[in-house]
């Protein structure tokens, strides 16, 4: 009976304050979407780190026709230069730092390039001899990149030595920055959400002061008087959190695993199932915030 009563009270409270309740739903929806997006970015960073870190290589690019580097003054790398480099890689001095290495010819480079940009017009404007051949080196310890770089960059026929890890680090730090920004936006929005929940509960308590006054006089317990208001805020926030979770899932499903993964074939995107891990966190966060802010508001504005 008391449960039914409380449910009825919640229903009438939600109906009476519909526009306020809707705004609470929307604000928590937006703020938690940002929280969730920050979480997704972090998951994506970890995913990429795990995937790339044992795959990233140091590439020693050889001179080709178009090379402008100082080491390439004598034109494209010759067969001897290439064999010389290979011998160096196999020498014990270098070998101790690397797991293995492969040679990627200009033809292979062109093939990889075509695969990677299969649906981009750029493929047609690039020819095979414009791409450099390279040695792809798997480091035992990627931190030792400097040694390889120093050893090879001054060799004849070498255009440049590049560390792919550095490129990745740049991407990661960009993604980290984006997730910090998302958390910042989320913090502001959560602040709005808390203020809005507070106001909504206050209005709700005010519009039902007759009922609560009578409840108090006939000896209704604090729980029976306050619970409908608290649940009103919590329900609105949970609806917002569910909407945020659904939005994030849709983003992961149709954007990350749709368009983006078609564009970036060898980037490992987080799956939409992984995103579902975020949903309970968002719901708990929404419910907790709403519960606490309603409780504190009622302490001040609802005499029991």
């Amino acid at each position: 009976m008391r449960l039914l009563f409380i449910l009825g009270e919640i229903g009438s409270g939600l109906r009476r304050n519909l526009s306020m309740v809707i705004s609470v739903v929307l604000v928590t929806f937006v703020s938690l979407t940002f929280v969730g997006a920050a979480g997704m970015l972090q998951m994506q960073i970890n995913q990429m780190k795990g995937y790339w870190y044992d795959k990233v290589q140091v590439a020693v690019f050889l001179c080709n026709d178009g090379s402008t580097a100082v080491g390439c003054a004598s034109g494209p790398a010759t067969k001897e230069q290439q064999e010389n480099l290979q011998a160096m890689l196999e020498s014990p001095a270098v070998k101790q730092y690397i797991n293995d290495f492969q040679f990627e010819s200009q033809a292979e480079a062109y093939k990889h390039f075509k695969e990677q940009f299969s649906n981009s017009p750029i493929v047609d404007s690039v020819s095979e001899d414009q791409l450099p051949a390279s040695f792809r080196i798997n480091m035992k310890n990627p931190e030792k990149y400097q040694i390889i770089s120093e050893t090879f960059s001054s060799q004849p026929g070498v255009e440049t030595v590049s560390d792919q890890r550095q490129v990745l680090e740049r991407i990661f730090s960009w993604m980290n920055g984006a997730s910090v920004a998302a958390v910042g936006v989320a913090a502001v929005m959560i602040f709005c959400a808390v203020l809005l929940i507070t106001t909504t509960i206050r209005l709700s308590a005010f519009s039902r002061r007759r009922e609560t006054g009578i409840m108090r006089l006939v000896g209704a317990s604090k729980t029976v008087i306050q619970l409908p208001f608290i649940l009103e805020g919590v329900i609105a926030a949970v609806v917002g959190a569910v909407l945020a979770s659904v939005t994030l899932w849709l983003m992961a499903h149709f954007w990350l695993n749709g368009d983006l993964s078609r564009q970036f074939l060898n980037t490992p995107f987080i799956s939409s199932t992984q995103v579902l891990v975020i949903a309970p966190v968002l719901i708990a966060l929404g419910a907790g915030l709403a519960g606490i802010s309603s409780l504190l508001t009622l302490r001040r504005y609802l005499k029991v």
Binding site: F5, I214, M215, V218, G219, S221, K222
Partner: protein
């Protein structure tokens, strides 16, 4: 605890209530006992402290000094989460009825039971009984705005007593009603009192007090200046010239009332 304490449903021991530091106390060292089953009128000019007295019984306010006992228990010692239990033992009626306008008569009375978790079947059984006691049979489905003031007050009384409290506090329950309707309300309160409920009623209505002839406690500036059994609205005891004049007036009034009865 002595037998006296148990017999006393409400006991004030040197109770002082100060709302604002510099103002005179709303209640000034009031000591009073109201026994189980008694019917007591609380009279006195506006601002004499009648409502304050009732609020202290409900623990709506805290006494600044002294102790208030309800059913033998010092209300100061009741923790905030047990205050609802205290209030379940006390029904309250006000001058302005305080009904819920969007609920019908039955729902208004049932509300008091729902919020303390009474089962639906008990509510369906009890509410019509109580509505009969206050003389509202057949009006269960009416909305408050479809009732006269007297009927609305009967609904409020039904709501106050539906959980069978030991005490009924009424703060000027007839303040908004005409004399005949007021008498009807008094009949209901009397009936509830006959059933064993202790009734304390604050009022300015001299006709009612004179008609009922019950205990009268008179407050003035927060002090009890009279406590008389089977008394009239104004004192029969001549103290100063002012009182004599009032007594004469009330004497006339009494004669008139008796004459009307004959």
């Amino acid at each position: 605890m002595s037998g006296g304490v148990l017999r006393a449903m409400i006991r004030f021991e040197n109770v002082t209530k100060v709302y604002e530091q510099n103002a005179r106390p709303a209640l000034d060292s009031v000591s009073l006992e109201i026994n189980r089953g008694e019917f007591t009128f609380l009279v006195g000019a506006s601002g004499s402290g009648k409502s304050t007295f009732l609020r202290l019984i409900l623990k709506e306010d805290k006494a600044s000094a002294g102790s208030v006992y309800v059913a033998g228990q010092n209300v100061a010692n009741i923790s905030s989460w047990r205050v609802p239990k205290l209030r379940r033992g006390i029904g309250v009626v006000f001058q302005d009825f305080r009904l819920l306008p969007q609920k019908n008569v039955f729902a208004n009375v049932a509300f008091a039971m729902q919020v303390i978790g009474k089962s639906r079947s008990i509510i369906r059984e009890t509410v019509p009984e109580v509505l009969k006691t206050v003389g509202l049979e057949g009006k269960e489905r009416r909305m408050p705005h479809e009732l006269s003031g007297g009927e609305q007050q009967r609904v409020a009384i039904a709501r106050a007593v539906v959980n069978r409290p030991g005490i009924l506090l009424a703060d000027e329950p007839t303040g908004n009603l005409d004399p005949i309707t007021s008498m009807g309300i008094m009949g209901v309160l009397d009936k509830i009192n006959q059933n064993g409920t202790t009734v304390v009623m604050a009022t300015h209505d001299d006709d009612i007090v004179n008609e009922m002839r019950r205990r009268v406690v008179e407050l003035k500036n927060g002090k009890v200046i009279r406590d008389e059994a089977k008394a009239l609205y104004t004192s029969m005891i001549p103290v100063v010239g002012e009182s004599r004049r009032l007594r004469d007036a009330s004497g006339e009034e009494l004669d008139r009332a008796q004459g009307a009865q004959l």
